[in-house]
């Protein structure tokens, strides 16, 4: 039995890697994508272009605007002198934000009355807009505290002391990079498995495989191992890059991490093979891979929290292996979660994997053309 499986695994590897293009496609892009996406996926604003509309001649407005100038989130790109200049700048996306201090800004402030600072934000991307408002209000708050201290105002009766666990500087890249490791691992398993059976069906070689002495279980194992091994190897490389290049902390144990990866690969390869054995043509296989992969990523909690989804969609995510894998990755990487706390994530992935394999094996026999 082992000999037969070995022969099949060897054949699968050859089929995957003998084509120069296929070889390149499997090895090159995941690494390139890690680099590009690793830098692209962040909610930390940098150099947001803004325009200054300062009608005030006093020093207070200048000081406050200097604080904006010094912040890494913002870069001033225009000084305007008239209200009519605002709309074209914002509409044409030259600036994302306009800061407007009225003519009496410094005078009001000196007189102890509230001085309004108008901030106009382009809301076309409401998330970026909200982040920009947050960053701006942090700058204004800091200015207020300093102003009150310097001008003898009483401090507020209570103040907030904030601490962030696991990610003290709240760097969003730490949150996204483990997610990207997960996404690329999923992509890879889809690449290796989704077309494997479909291609043999289309070319008619799958029937030949079925009439060999190989049993369906053996075919299943033979089809699984290459995806599993390639996935393991590339996931390891991607994680090395995340830790050593992007400096994401890895606090938990490798054993826990690899348990998670193995179970995820099991479910991913299982679903891939299921799709592939259901498809009659490669085009259908590709379609199936997308129909699974796109929701699996968008509804995994990668960029938008699952908590924000309607309850029905939250229930659907329970069938999504990515959901569990992301929790494992973030838990092990950033929180150093121990093995036993992650068991609630481990068993659903195992269950999804086993079910998918069962269906795939059944389809081998019962879907004939």
């Amino acid at each position: 039995m082992l000999g037969r499986i070995y022969a099949l695994v060897l054949k699968e590897f050859l089929a995957l890697l003998k084509d120069k293009r296929a070889r390149f496609v499997l090895i090159g892009p995941p690494l390139i994508q890690l680099m590009v996406f690793g830098y692209a996926a962040t909610f930390d604003l940098k150099n947001v272009p803004y325009a200054v509309y300062n009608e005030d001649r006093g020093s207070a407005a200048r000081e406050l605007l200097a604080d904006f100038d010094g912040a890494t989130s913002f870069t001033p790109v225009a000084q305007i002198t008239h209200e009519s200049e605002i709309a074209p700048l914002v509409d044409g996306k030259q600036v994302l934000m306009v800061i407007h201090a009225g003519p009496n800004f410094s005078a009001e402030l000196a007189a102890g009355r509230p001085a309004p600072l108008q901030v106009i934000v382009d809301g076309r991307n409401s998330n970026t807009a909200m982040l920009a408002i947050n960053d701006a209000s942090v700058i204004v708050d800091r200015f207020n505290t300093a102003w009150a201290a310097a001008h003898g105002g009483s401090p507020p009766p209570a103040h907030i002391e904030m601490r962030a666990w696991f990610n003290p500087n709240l760097e969003s890249r730490w949150f996204f990079l483990p997610g990207i490791v997960g996404i690329l691992t999923l992509l890879l398993t889809m690449l290796v498995t989704a077309l494997s059976v479909a291609r043999e069906r289309e070319q008619g070689t799958f029937d030949q495989l079925l009439v060999t002495p190989l049993r369906p279980v053996e075919i299943l194992i033979g089809k699984t191992l290459p995806g599993f091994l390639i996935g393991m190897a590339e996931a390891s490389v991607i994680m090395l890059a995340a830790v050593f290049w992007f400096k994401v902390p890895l606090l938990g144990s490798l054993l826990t991490l690899y348990t998670g990866i193995a179970l995820f690969l099991l479910s991913g390869v299982g679903v891939g093979l299921m799709i592939s054995s259901f498809a009659a043509t490669q085009q259908q296989g590709l379609l199936g891979a997308f129909i699974f992969m796109v929701p699996a990523i968008i509804l995994s909690g990668f960029a938008t929290p699952i908590r924000n989804m309607p309850l029905l969609v939250q229930d659907i995510t329970l069938f999504n292996p990515m959901r569990y894998f992301l929790l494992v990755l973030r838990g092990v990487f950033l929180e150093g979660m121990p093995f036993h706390l992650l068991i609630p994530q481990f068993w659903p992935m195992a269950l999804i994997g086993v079910t998918a394999f069962g269906i795939a094996g059944w389809l081998f026999r019962h879907r004939m053309y």
């Binding site: 293009r21 296929a22 892009p29 994508q33 590009v36 996406f37 692209a40 996926a41 909610f43 947001v48 272009p49 509409d91 996306k93 509230p114 001085a115 309004p116 600072l117 901030v119 106009i120 934000v121 382009d122 809301g123 991307n125 409401s126 998330n127 970026t128 807009a129 909200m130 982040l131 408002i133 947050n134 209000s137 102003w147 401090p155 009766p157 209570a158 103040h159 907030i160 904030m162 601490r163 962030a164 666990w165 760097e171 730490w174 992509l187 989704a194 077309l195 490669q282 085009q283 296989g285 590709l286 379609l287 129909i291 992969m293 929701p295 968008i298 509804l299 929290p305 309607p310 029905l312």
Partner: protein, 368 residues
């Protein structure tokens, strides 16, 4: 005339393998429904632990702010340790602690500390929570001042005005972005396999010995899928407007012209993929890699392109979805701003020309 024959053949192929029709019509419905409802960045009902070590009237006023906030679901814990355990287990995302001496410090006139601990793993949510807690704190201070018959004095008052989306409803920008992502998938999926299938089965050579020129072959391959894709697009736009109630402030015809342009670009990319790859297998692999993830992560759909490092910003220029996302978000939310629409439309045109040119060259070279 010759062209008509080829187009007829493509249509027959489409009808006989229903997966193309499924791609064009079922995919946009299915994906938009799932994501339009599922994807939201508006954080509400964040589970928060409140630890009040010594409850009294002062702390009651403070916790009332949290009970009434729509952003938080507050649960009370007896001690900081219990709350920390709840956060470890993922039951709450943040902890607010009022120490034993909170009220007495407050009465003495010293600034009493309010401790806020957030789970920083999801840094974005962490920051949103901190903003909301600040807000609750501010309105608590204002209420307290009001009770004393005073008005709270803040030196600089930030007044924010958000244009185009004043309620910051994240669906308004996510749905147009999703339309771009979905159309990228549809465009590439429809054509990615088309030429490689002909090469793989050897029918391409049969096609080439007919009097059809290469240009006619490409048009014949593009046109049927363009019609299918436009059908899917009409569905997607209709759903955005009527189901998700995204306002359309620009004009419909600009939207459709830009979309047609984008669809041609996406289809040409698919054709290029299927010409470069010699087999359907490799074409499928490239389509999986080159379409969805770049459109999702590098288009400005969720992540702000301006905040990316310069090298990555340069790379985003070859992602067609980037231009389409900019056009869609502008036409839907801001109106016909030609300063945004024209450059992006030109970029799409350029990309389409490059893709088609490369397809043409590659397909011709193959003959030798």
């Amino acid at each position: 005339m010759r062209l008509r024959g080829l187009i007829r053949k493509e249509f027959l192929q489409i009808v006989r393998d229903p997966s193309s029709i499924a791609i064009a019509f079922l995919m946009p419905i299915f994906l938009l429904l799932l994501f339009g409802y599922g994807v939201s960045l508006d954080s509400e009902h964040i589970p928060l632990a409140l630890v009040v070590e010594q409850p009294n009237t002062d702390t009651a006023d403070f916790s009332a702010e949290f009970d009434h906030s729509k952003y938080f679901v507050t649960s009370y814990y007896a001690s900081t340790r219990d709350a920390e355990q709840a956060m470890m287990a993922g039951r709450v995302n943040a902890i607010v602690v009022l120490r034993q001496d909170f009220a007495s410090t407050l009465r003495r006139g010293d600034s009493a500390p309010i401790q806020l601990i957030v789970n920083g793993v999801d840094a974005n949510t962490g920051r949103i929570i901190s903003g909301y807690v600040q807000g609750a704190w501010g309105s608590w201070l204002a209420h307290a001042a009001q009770k004393r018959g005073e008005v709270l004095q803040v030196p600089v008052q930030m007044q924010q005005r958000v244009w185009f989306n004043s309620e910051l409803r994240s669906r308004n920008f996510l749905v147009p972005g999703l339309v771009a992502v979905i159309m990228t998938l549809i465009g590439a999926l429809l054509t990615a396999m088309v030429m490689s299938r002909e090469w793989e089965r050897g029918t391409m050579e049969a096609l080439l010995v007919t009097p059809l020129s290469m240009r006619e072959v490409i048009i014949g391959k593009l046109l049927p899928y363009f019609i299918l894709g436009m059908g899917g697009l009409v569905l997607a736009v209709g759903m955005s407007l009527f189901l998700f109630e995204v306002p359309l402030r620009g004009s419909l015809w600009v939207l459709f012209v830009a979309s047609a342009l984008f669809l041609v670009t996406a289809l040409s990319m698919g054709l290029l993929i299927s010409t470069v790859a010699r087999s359907q297998f490799v074409a499928g692999l490239i389509a999986l890699i080159a379409t969805f993830l770049p459109a999702f992560l590098l288009s400005g759909f969720i992540f702000d392109i301006g905040s990316m490092p310069t090298v990555v910003q340069v790379i985003t220029h070859i992602v067609a979805a980037r231009y389409y996302v900019a056009i869609l978000q502008t036409v839907f939310l801001a109106g016909n701003v030609w300063d945004v629409i024209l450059p992006n439309a030109l970029a799409l045109l350029l990309l389409a020309t490059v893709f088609l040119g490369l397809t043409w060259r590659n397909a011709r070279k193959r003959l030798e």
